[in-house]
Every structure is written in structure tokens, then in C-alpha cells.
Symmetry: C2
Subunit: 344 residues, 2 copies
């Protein structure tokens, strides 16, 4: 069997089928939607014509006529290639599927312009709702208007000044607990890998980090702040920090990208045969296999798929119950896991 069946210049319509079957378009329509009030014999003729022509009914036209929604839900993330966001998407898909919706996936690549385009496009496609991981510092408010009435759920990051349904991770609490773990293990010089001036998520994680340190009477030290936004940058920063005198004994990693980079540098350092103990790390998000590296690790982990599910639930609640009052915020909890630390 070959899939090259020539795509007709224009797809067959009800009329084409009707003509071939020798009935009226209406009879075809009825047959396609279950066949109530159509003689079985006629139905068969219609079916034959349908198969002969390869007819599929045009859902767009159908929906317009019925005034029905599109059954499409948009999800725009900063990077689908990142396993974290692909898990989020998986969670959304799972819930959406239960509601008979399909998901339109867009990738912003952290680019606000691309995000703008994407939102406009999605809106034009009449999506019923949008789940968004805002790029950068968040879309400017005026652009949120593009959605004009389409329910929006923010996932993982907030947008300053925008009051929408949101699913967040317990960033502050998680970061505080993870940092506390490092403190408990005796670490005092802990470097922060991430850009506190960047996205809201990092800001909150930094807040938790600082809060724990402050609780231990440790002040801010700019030299231990390593702004980085990719695995490569993180690797470079850690390598640099491990080279300076009085280098940190532990690191706080903001996300799975910085974690991967940092682990590369740490393993390299360890394998370099240093006599100092292997630097420890508290890292947000899970990274597969990281627990096998024999690097002292405190993972502040949560389930991104669950985050996606919660976001989808929030969206469908809104879609169903119309007005449930003001915006809601859901938090996904963070669990602390230890590997290769004294506490383990």
C-alpha cells in the first residue's frame, strides 16, 4: 500500500459524495453523524461513496456552523526540547485528552517576540484556553490582551502585574529546605548558580536560598553569585569558582540545565585528583542519573508532569464553571532527596 494517493486539487465535500451516491447532501450529513433516519441500504451507498472519494468531513466548517468550540488547547513553553517542559506538556496532554481536547504546542525559545506571535496565532486559531510558561520576564501586559477573553493559565512562572490562574512550584520553601540541607552538612560557602535578576522562578528560588543562609547568620557575598542561564555557562562558572582561592564547598543550582553543567565541572574537578572533598550541590529539578554520580547531592525535586496536570485542571475548571471568582494559585510541593551526603 502506498500513501501517495493524489491529494485532489480540492478535498471532496458533502456534495461530491452526495452526487456519487445519488442522494442529497443532507443524507450524507446524516449518515456521517450516526445515520438516524437514513435507510441502511442508502447508508451503505453513502459509505461506499465516502470511501471511494476518501471523504472526511471538514471539522472547521462543522464547528463554525454549530457554533462549537474548536476543541483545541494551546500550550506555549520556552523549550519543548527540555525534558522538564516535555513532562509538563505530557501532563497537560493527559488531562486535555480526558476532556476530548487536542493540544497545540508552541515553542517560544525564551523570546518575547516569538511568544507574541505565538499567542496571536493561537488566538486566531480559536483555542479554548492557553497554558503558558512566560518567556523571559513575561509578556508585556498589553499583549496579554491579545487573548481577549481566552482563559489563561500561567505555569511555573508569573508575570508581574498580571493576575491570572497560576500553577507554581514551592520555589521559596523548596530552595530554603535544600539550602538548609547544605548548611546542616556544614557548608558555609555556597555559590548560587542562576540569575536572580532573571525570571520570576529564579528570583523566588534565590529568595529561599538567601532566607536559609540568613537564618544561619550568613550574609550575602557577591563573589558567590554566578549568573548563568545554560548548562554551558554553569559549567564555566563552576569551573571558575573551583579555581579561586577560598572556593565554595557547595553549590545551589537553580534548574536542570545549570545542574547538568555544574555536575560536569564538579566531576572534572574530582577526577582531577584534588585532595579536597567533592563539592556538594543542592539542585532544583530532577536530572536523570545525577544520583549515580557519587557527588553529594540534595535534590529539590517535584513532578513537572503533575504541574502540567494541575495547570490543565485549572484551565478546564475555568472553561467549565465559567466564573469561579478571582484567579487561583496552586502550588506543587517540593521533596528533598539526598544522595551521597553524610545525611544519607
Amino acid at each position: 500500500m502506498t500513501m501517495q494517493s493524489s491529494p485532489r486539487s480540492s478535498a471532496p465535500t458533502v456534495r461530491d459524495v452526495a452526487a456519487l451516491a445519488g442522494v442529497s447532501p443532507m443524507t450524507v450529513s446524516r449518515t456521517m453523524s450516526g445515520g438516524v433516519n437514513v435507510r441502511p441500504e442508502v447508508q451503505e451507498r453513502v459509505q461506499a461513496a465516502v470511501e471511494a472519494l476518501g471523504y472526511r468531513r471538514n471539522n472547521s466548517a462543522r464547528n463554525t456552523r454549530l457554533g462549537r468550540p474548536t476543541g483545541l488547547v494551546g500550550i506555549a513553553v520556552t523549550n519543548i526540547g527540555n525534558p522538564y517542559y516535555s513532562q509538563v506538556a505530557l501532563g497537560v496532554e493527559e488531562i486535555a485528552g480526558g476532556y476530548g481536547r487536542q493540544i497545540l504546542v508552541g515553542n517560544t525559545g525564551e523570546d518575547p517576540n516569538r511568544e507574541r506571535e505565538l499567542i496571536a496565532d493561537f488566538a486566531g486559531r480559536q483555542i479554548e484556553g492557553l497554558i503558558l510558561v512566560p518567556a523571559g520576564n513575561g509578556l508585556e501586559l498589553p499583549d496579554a490582551r491579545k487573548l481577549s477573553g481566552i482563559p489563561l493559565v500561567l505555569a511555573s512562572r508569573t508575570i508581574d502585574g498580571l493576575d491570572a490562574d497560576t500553577v507554581l512550584v514551592d520555589d521559596v520553601g523548596g530552595a530554603r529546605a535544600g539550602t538548609q540541607g547544605l548548611l546542616d552538612d556544614g557548608h558555609r560557602r555556597i555559590a548560587f548558580l542562576g540569575d536572580p535578576a532573571g525570571i520570576s522562578t529564579t528570583r523566588r528560588r534565590y529568595e529561599g536560598f538567601r532566607s536559609a543562609l540568613a537564618g544561619a547568620g550568613i550574609g550575602e557575598d557577591k563573589r558567590l553569585l554566578a549568573p548563568c542561564r545554560s548548562a554551558r555557562e554553569a559549567e564555566g562558572e563552576v569551573r571558575r569558582l573551583l579555581g579561586v582561592s577560598n572556593s565554595p564547598t557547595a553549590f545551589f543550582s537553580t534548574n536542570n540545565r545549570t545542574t547538568v553543567g555544574a555536575l560536569r565541572a564538579i566531576c572534572e574537578y574530582r577526577n582531577g585528583g584534588s585532595s579536597r572533598p567533592v563539592p556538594a550541590m543542592a539542585c532544583f529539578d530532577d536530572v536523570e542519573l545525577a544520583d549515580l554520580l557519587q557527588v553529594p547531592l540534595i535534590m529539590m525535586s517535584h513532578d513537572p508532569k503533575e504541574l502540567g496536570k494541575q495547570a490543565a485542571r485549572l484551565l478546564f475548571d475555568r472553561l467549565a464553571g465559567s466564573q469561579l471568582g478571582g484567579p487561583r494559585e496552586v502550588q506543587v510541593g517540593v521533596e528533598i532527596h539526598r544522595f551521597w551526603t553524610d545525611g544519607n
Copy 2:
């Protein structure tokens, strides 16, 4: 700013805007599509009405009228949560974006029934083309008919008896080279982690594996065949195999899932303080951080994103050039990388 603006019972239409602006629907339409032949002054009135009503033009209706395609491309994979497929999706998205198309992402979960539903649904949504990673042994042929004319590109796996555009990885060649690497390192007892009776991909990788072994005069040994389809199963199999007498000195891992599981078991074994050398592994697909584990590794790696791109290119070629003759097959090359082996 709050996103709760009550979704009107029915979305505003051109007519609503026209009425409010005191013009005809046509003027609104023209304004919306660039405003040629509309006085600036009138355009402003229209824009005001648009914003007041939160009007967005209905793309479905628009496309029906224009007889235009939907601008939607479907991509159905077995698991978006798997970083491998999320990279594939990313590649597709990138190319599709360049053609002004959005991607509809579906997850089959390796379930042929779900795949069937998905395809039917996608077809009903008038997608312009479909990129499919077939579930299990592939959808039965009759169901491919559901696509009736919608161009199809198979990615990563084939379907027996279905002759469609396809992007494959050089499974046989890659597997042969990887296995040869293990042989070069002196390994003679190599276990195969995967189900050769399963999907086409695994079958081809097994073929390459066997081919290399046969070249070295090593016959088939059922005891070294460990059918497994998940990380957990692979972990169990490896643990079991490392426990038997005359256990394998190396493993061939079929994909990133089996690799992750196997690495867990291998590290556990090594850390158990065995005096035997650390088992080696040749593994298909990349797994982040695996190269840091100090396990002798031969990676048969390729870029899944590139695979997605190629699939998309094949699709858009087909969409543009209509008939380019018979189905085409593209192969993505495999590179061999060594870590912690003698050869490195």
C-alpha cells in the same frame, strides 16, 4: 490586570464590530487584513470597536471561505515525556514554524487504539500532514486509510507493508559499529537489552548487533537475550544477568530507556565492590550525564532533533511539490563516541 474578562456567551463577530463602528462587515474585514482601501480615520474607528469588543477573527471560518488549508501539522509520538521524542518534536516545530504552520501534538503511549483515535481526530481537524512514530508494531494498514490523502511521514519506525515517506536512523550500521567497538575491546559475552520481536527499530538494531557478532564468529546465545521495554525492566535484567555464573562482560542497550536502567544496575554492581571489571555498554541514543559515570561506554548517538527536522522537510516537500514520485527514505547517521574505554 485581571484575566477574568467574562467570555461572552458567544464571541463577537465581524457584524458586531461593524455595527459598533457604524460600518459594513466588509470594511471590518478589510481593516483586519491590513486595511487596504480603508480610510485611516475609519480604520481607527474599527480598531476601537475591535478592542472594545475583544474581537478576534475566526480563523476557521476564514479558512473555509478562502479554501485555504488549516496551517496545522500533526505529530504523533509514543511518548512526548521522553526527551528523545521531545527533541524530535522540537525539530519538527522548528521547520514547521518556518512554513508558518503550527503543530498539533499527540501522545499515543504505545497504544494502537489511542493511535487510531488520534489519527481520526487529527484527520477530522484537517491537518495538512502527519508525522508519525508508529505505536507498537505499527497501525494496521486499513487505518492508514483514515488519512485518505493526507501526506504521512513515518519517523524512526516503519510499518510493515506501508510504503510512506520515512526518516530512519542508521540502526543497522550504528548497531554494528557499536557492537564492533565492544568486540574490539575484547568483549565476547555481550547481552542484548531490548525486544527483537518488538518494534521495527529494535529489530534493525538487533540485526546490526548480530551481524557484528557473526562477523567475529560468535553465535546466537538465547541466554544473553534480555527482552525489556522500560528502564525498570532493563535494570532488573541487568541485575539478574550480572548475578549468573559466566555473566556477560558487556551489554548492548537498545534505547535511552534501557540505557538508564542498565546504568543503574551496573553502577550498583560496581559499588557493590566486585573485583571483576566494570561491565561495559554500547548504547543507542544519548543520555545526558551518562558519560560522567565512569562506566565503559560506547554511545551510538544521533541527533533526534535532526530526525524531526528531516521528517518535517520530507513532509513540506510533499506538501509543496505535490507529486515527487514514490516514497522517499532518509537516513540519519549515527556517530560512535567512547567514554572510559581503553580505546578512549
